[in-house]
């Protein structure tokens, strides 16, 4: 590699990817239906809706919340979530009135796939990865989240196979909502730690 096709026009990667795919298929290491089914998993089956169900359950069921904080992987498996891309260790970190958690991977782009799906581009790009550990408050302010100095910021830099899920604070005024309704309020950004959950349902 070594930067040799830096300035190739856009069709080039697409063509070379198809070429490699066709070679792997010929060698019996891949098949077209494998591609289709894997893509379908990451487009349809895993995504922030999984994490939102975990969060909502933790909000309404304090025993579940304790299990989630004690062993994240086991707790999400109760809801049927797991599999590749999440390590075998998931750690849920809880936001409180005095502690705010934020997740990043400075060395690559580790992310809790089983509960959040594939990461958004901004999570993978240099701006977020470089700044989250050095100036988290400034970064959060850009995301629209102004934290008072009395709130401690904890940045989780995922450098190993352990993945992190932020358990956001349950917003005030949601006492009348059921678990499914609560899950609809929980956004991907809140579970990464760059937003709060609000009682108004988010635009999806």
């Amino acid at each position: 590699m070594g930067g040799t096709h830096n300035s190739e026009p856009e069709p080039y990667p697409a063509l070379r990817v198809r070429a490699l795919e066709s070679l792997l298929i010929e060698k019996g290491l891949l098949s077209s239906d494998v591609v289709d089914k894997l893509v379908a998993i990451y487009e349809n089956d895993v995504g922030p809706m999984n994490g939102a169900r975990v969060v909502a359950r933790a909000w309404v069921d304090s025993a579940y919340k304790q299990r989630l904080l004690a062993d994240g992987a086991a707790a999400i498996a109760e809801l049927g979530f797991g599999g590749r891309g999440g390590g075998d260790k998931l750690v849920a970190v809880e936001n409180t009135p005095t502690v705010h958690n934020l997740v990043v991977c400075t060395l690559c782009s580790c992310y809790p796939w089983p509960v959040l799906g594939l990461p958004p581009n901004w999570y993978k790009m240099p701006a977020y990865r470089s700044r989250a550990v050095l100036e988290p408050r400034t970064l959060l302010r850009e995301f629209g989240l102004e934290l008072p100095e009395s709130v401690e910021v904890r940045v989780w830099d995922s450098s190993a196979e352990v993945r992190y899920l932020v358990l956001p604070e349950r917003p005030a005024g949601t006492g009348h909502l059921g678990e499914a309704e609560l899950a609809r309020l929980v956004t991907r950004d809140a579970m990464i730690g760059v937003a709060r959950v609000t009682a108004a349902a988010p635009a999806r």
């Binding site: 590699m1 070594g2 930067g3 040799t4 830096n6 990667p13 697409a14 063509l15 070379r16 990817v17 198809r18 070429a19 490699l20 795919e21 066709s22 070679l23 792997l24 298929i25 060698k27 019996g28 290491l29 891949l30 098949s31 077209s32 239906d33 494998v34 591609v35 089914k37 894997l38 893509v39 990451y42 487009e43 599999g83 590749r84 999440g86 390590g87 075998d88 400075t106 060395l107 690559c108 594939l118 958004p120 581009n121 993978k124 240099p126 701006a127 977020y128 470089s130 989250a132 050095l134 850009e142 100095e149 910021v153 904890r154 830099d157 995922s158 450098s159 190993a160 196979e161 352990v162």
Partner: protein, 224 residues
């Protein structure tokens, strides 16, 4: 490796650019790269640490000028060639042939392979915690990270070298990426979450009341 991938604390990359209603994929080829890589790792053609180091070995300018799936593809290509799964010349020839005749090499299904791979993906196949060796540190212990600059793969980022922290929790015993990325086996070690005060990492440039928690293997740490 002190490469440009080690981005923690770098400056000059500007604001975070977000895309409203971002799709899961931005192009068809990205889907194919995802599937190829998952299929290759599930079949143990290479391991996740070799994969990460494959990305780190990209040219620095190329790394910074390209996105996630280009990084993935760079590593997939590098590793499949190095492992002898495909030959570079094969890939060059096939790329040229597809350029000349895009309709060549139509889809081919393989239900048996598909069932086997999907089962493995759903089960998960990432590093599992092992029983030994026993951890040297306990929660609350003060530690000093090593000031080390290996030419190969490591998960101790540059910004946290030679810094004092405290053990937050013991995660279990896991494969050491520094070894596993370089064909030196798994060499499992205790893995800890270690917390660092912002001021210890960034001096006077630290923001107040900010802590960084890093997952670090035992050999990265000394008692302090």
């Amino acid at each position: 490796m002190n490469g440009v991938h080690d981005l923690g604390g770098m400056q000059g990359f500007g604001p975070v650019a977000r895309e409203p209603n971002e799709p899961v994929f931005h192009a068809d080829w990205e889907k194919r790269v995802l599937a190829m890589n998952v299929a290759a790792m599930t079949q143990r053609l290479y391991n996740v640490d070799e994969f990460r180091h494959g990305i780190e070995r990209m040219g620095a300018a190329h790394y910074l000028a390209s996105g996630y799936y280009e990084h993935w593809f760079a590593a997939v290509e590098t590793l499949l060639i190095e492992k002898g799964v495909v030959k570079r010349i094969e890939l060059d020839v096939r790329t040229a042939a597809l350029g000349a005749n895009p309709a060549a090499h139509p889809r081919r299904d393989d239900p048996a392979l598909s069932a086997r791979l999907l089962h493995a993906v759903r089960a998960g196949s990432a590093a599992k915690s092992e029983a030994a060796p026993a951890p040297r540190f306990r929660a609350g212990d003060r530690v000093l990270t090593r000031n080390t600059h290996p030419a190969g793969h490591t998960r101790l980022p540059r910004y946290a070298r030679g810094r004092h922290g405290a053990i937050e929790r013991f995660h279990g015993v896991y494969t050491l990426p520094d070894a596993h990325a370089h064909g030196r086996g798994r060499q499992p070690q205790p893995l800890y979450s270690v917390r660092f005060e912002g001021r210890e990492l960034w001096g006077e440039s630290a923001e107040p009341g900010a802590w960084v928690y890093l997952d670090l293997w035992e050999s990265y740490l000394e008692p302090a």
